[in-house]
Amino acid sequence: MVVDLDQHLKPGKSSYVAIGLEGSANKLGVGLIRHHPGQLSLSNRAEVLANIRDTYITPPGEGFLPRDTARHHRNWVVRLIKQALDEARLGKDDIDVICFTKGPGMGAPLQSVVIAARTLSLLWDIPLVGVNHCIGHIEMGREITGAHNPVVLYVSGGNTQVIAYSKQKYRIFGETLDIAIGNCLDRFARTLEISNDPSPGYNIEQLAKKGKHFVELPYTVKGMDLSMSGILAYIDEIANTLFNKKNAKPLQNEEGKNKNKKNNLCFSLQECLFSMLVEITERAMAHVNSNEVLIVGGVGCNERLQEMMKIMVSDRNGSIFATDERFCIDNGIMIAHAGLLSYRMGDTTSLEDTVCTQQYRTDQVLVKWRDD
């Protein structure tokens, strides 16, 4: 059955335009997107009009505090919105809907962005749509790559999930039982006092490329789920022993000086974590009988993860889909895209329902715009 996405096209308009505001963590993103009437397809693609991002960066060894991240978003959001409108050469009258991240994410930064969205909605008299951040990643990934019905691996600083679509919901097949993979990598970067610019994960990836010796780490897949906090504690202890001389305990299997390098630790951590992800993704593919994998989320930019996943998918004669940093890392365009799909199905969020929520699971959203 084909869903009718054009029941709410305004008279006299030949397309839909949405602005999306994202600020669930340390990235503030503003995006403008255009949809033409009809089903989105390879011949009717969404048009990215502007996709701007500014990141709150902290010094090496430090994470981002909610209060300071919220302040960053609060003081930059208007400038970014103006910049995005200029880049898209659009005015307020061109916009059909204002989309914002409703959750999941950090409370204070989410709050900064939703206040901007509410203010614009009242000033411009344009409806609001609250968007689930994870759904934004999935829908933008599908749109950019053209993946039809993939198993989705969503890997970011706050989320690690293996997802598959069924009956108008994105169902979670497996997920982390404790910390997210991006959080694990970021926290290890803090232990090593690696720079947070442009991102700790990116810098770990660059060090890992130089690593050659694998240091054995715990491998903690639990059925379809995985756990990473124990791995982090273990490798933190090794790093502290080697570099910081805190909590010092002698290494049991010290084989040569190369193992004592940061490169090898970063390499080993990536190899171990990514192997776990590949394993549960492969199992999800077998469960749902799919041969497509789509990787989304900030960690999805990691070339080594893409490479390892590709090896597994090739063995199954399947296809792997991934996006570059414009769409992998948190951005406003994905919120605009997912929000516009929802708007086209007739959904809007009333002002009193725009309260953000830190916990908002992927499978709580009814995906009205799909019925396959």
């Binding site: 709150y56 010094p59 300071d68 302040r71 960053h72 003081n75």
Partner: protein, 126 residues
């Protein structure tokens, strides 16, 4: 907490004549505190909305300062709201401080019981 402004919702807010103010009330308490923006001068750099102490101590250059207010209705409203937010923050902080000092012993005892259990709980364990 409610922040009110009786201006129009038009583009440049030319209709604004009243100044923003906030009313604090708490269900179950006979309090209704009205917070006025005051005479000013008002700035967009708030006294309570700067970087956290943690960031300041780290010696970071503040790249995220708010821009100066423009000489327009919206700019004026923005700086007035910053003053109002400062006053709200100060008021709420004072209330939290007075509440915690008033109920300190009782709350601390309750919290300890929740976290550590009571003497009776200990007896049950053995």
């Amino acid at each position: 907490m409610t922040v009110l402004n009786k201006g129009d919702n038009n583009d440049d807010l030319n209709g604004i004549e009243n100044r923003p103010f906030a009313i604090y009330y708490n269900i179950g308490e006979a309090i209704e505190k009205r917070i006025e923006v005051g005479d000013g001068p008002h700035f967009t750099k708030g006294k309570t909305s700067g970087p956290s102490d943690f960031v300041l101590k780290a010696g970071i250059k503040d790249k995220d300062k708010p821009s100066e207010a423009k000489d327009s209705c919206l700019g004026k409203l923005r700086s007035e709201l910053t003053t109002l937010q400062d006053k709200i923050n100060v008021y709420l902080t004072e209330r939290m401080a007075s509440n915690s000092s008033g109920n300190n012993n009782e709350e601390a005892k309750f919290e300890k019981e929740i976290l550590d259990g009571t003497a009776e709980d200990d007896e049950d364990e053995y």
